[in-house]
Amino acid sequence: MPKGIDVSNVAKDFELESLKQGLRLDGRKLNEFRDVEINIGNSYGSVDVKLGKTRIAVRISAEIVAPFEDRPFEGLFMINTEISPMASAMFESGRQSDEEILISRLIEKAVRRSNALDLESLCIIAGEKCWSIRADIHYLDYDGNFADISCIGVLCALLHFKKPDITINEHQEIIVHPINERVPVPLSILHIPICVTFAFFNPNDVEENIKGDSNAELIVVDPTMGEELLAYGSLTLTMNKNRELVQISKAGGLSIDAMVIMDCSNLAYEIACRITDQIREAIKADDAKRAEKRLEIRL
């Protein structure tokens, strides 16, 4: 059975020592986020994101369905975060691993519950027809921090996606116009939440951490797989460019000083701003490319 990857004691000590000296195995500083590489595909809502060696592909699709009975003015939005053994042999197909459940909950809170996608804008005929938007995240390569990259990927894909234009005629029939007939309509994204994950390491003994005064915990931004396997706990903060904290998730693990969260938030805000700008740049560049192509065809 493909088990989790075991790390030897030597490797553990080596990594911990390096962290104490402010060095990470991939050469980053402790508070450095990996470079994000965004590749936008040919069809709307199709995005590939790389965070160091971690790689995902996100695909957005839309369907017209009946809305829920208790929410007749809202559309539907669902995110699929199934991890396959392609990402790493430690993920089994068909069974949801703990990792998957945590990531799924995180994305749920960060993107769905925060109303990043305005569901009311998806309504077509109240109580009868609405758009159902679906985001499928395909995890291709695992090198730590699936949570952050998922958020970046989904937001980028949602910003890029355009749904077909529709008209409702006098008989209450909906006519969907193909993309080459009428210009498709972008989705209404209210804000761009960006998740930033921090991993904690304990350089001292357990007792020191709980009873002692020294707050020597090591906090590392955007852990790689090796760091995730050694970490004692993690914290994920989701912020947007409006300096709003969208969600905080610290599920057990190493106890840390509460003031540290403030520092983490500030760091997270800077990272969120930078990445938001990067996403917007990528979308703008893609729009420009498409406009050029359309001009070429006309000429």
């Binding site: 059975m1 493909p2 595909g41 040919n42 069809s43 709307y44 809502g45 199709s46 590939d48 060696k53 790689r55 592909a57 695909r59 957005i60 699709s61 839309a62 369907e63 017209i64 699929n80 199934e82 396959s84 053994p85 392609m86 990402a87 790493s88 042999a89 197909s93 679906r134 499928d136 395909h138 291709l140 390569d141 695992y142 090198d143 996606f161 749904k163 077909p164 969907v176």
Partner: protein, 251 residues
């Protein structure tokens, strides 16, 4: 990344694209004439031979676990059927007696479909169900490349090709959704290769109105040519490149 192909299709292939698995390959097939149609993009990963679960173990042979993930939605019975057909071919090709009691895990992720099938609006005309031959074709080729990358022992090389006979009785490998649906017949042919030439028929699936003569004279010939072309122009270059990279530190 190596690309090439016939006068109808462009193939692009790359090996060793993923880090956590034993072998991986990324393939994209697009039309040479219609560059706006988009491409069929598939990435295949192979992990193995690894330890298998007790219930999956086979005493003298290896066990294959194949998963196909669609680009939109979750895996359904449609993907189960694709997995079954893939297994029929792979059972013949993989040297399973070489890895007894072990598991070979193959995962295929369909990343892109040519624009005609890639209608991101699933409407009342969901013709995606109509033909999965094209998907099977891409899956087979990318699995072959990934198998080479992973070093799993194979009894022979194999490649596949998919073609249609349209309403004007023309045989072509370059088709879009309308062509496929309005075609007289559609064919998927898989051959094994020996010295760069097609040897034995491993798998074939033909749907539509056709007769035996058309099948043997025209379809098989066309597909043989396409396969041999694909082999010389794309596959060989791809593998050569991989070896160049592997031996990059050799003095």
């Amino acid at each position: 990344m190596s690309s090439g192909g016939s006068d109808e299709l462009i193939y692009e292939a790359k090996l060793s694209v993923l880090n956590r698995v034993d072998g991986s390959a990324q393939l994209s097939i697009s039309s040479r004439k219609d560059l706006d149609e988009g491409e069929l993009g598939i990435i295949c990963s192979i992990t193995g031979p690894i330890e298998s679960k007790a219930r999956q173990e086979s005493p003298q042979q290896s066990n294959l676990e194949i998963s196909v993930m669609p680009h939109i939605g979750v895996a359904s019975t449609r993907e189960k059927l694709l997995e079954y057909k893939l297994k029929l071919v792979l059972d013949r090709v993989i040297d399973s007696f070489e890895y007894p009691r072990q598991l070979i895990q193959i995962v295929l992720q369909i990343l892109n479909k040519p624009n005609y099938e890639d209608d991101t609006t699933i409407g009342s005309d969901d013709m995606n169900d109509f033909f999965s031959l094209n998907d099977l074709n891409g899956c087979l080729i990318s699995t072959y490349l990934a198998l080479i990358d992973s070093g799993i022992s194979m009894k022979s090389s194999f490649l596949s090709s998919c073609c249609i006979i349209n309403s004007n009785n023309q045989l072509t490998t370059d088709f879009n959704k309308n062509d496929l649906i309005n075609s007289k017949s559609a064919h998927l042919i898989v051959y094994d290769l020996r010295n760069g030439k097609c040897n034995n028929l491993i798998y074939s699936e033909s749907i539509g109105e056709f007769d035996e003569q058309i099948f043997f004279k025209n379809v098989l010939d066309k597909c043989k040519k396409e396969i041999e072309n694909l082999n010389t122009k794309v596959i060989k270059n791809c593998i050569t490149e991989k070896f160049k990279n592997d031996y990059i530190w050799k003095a």
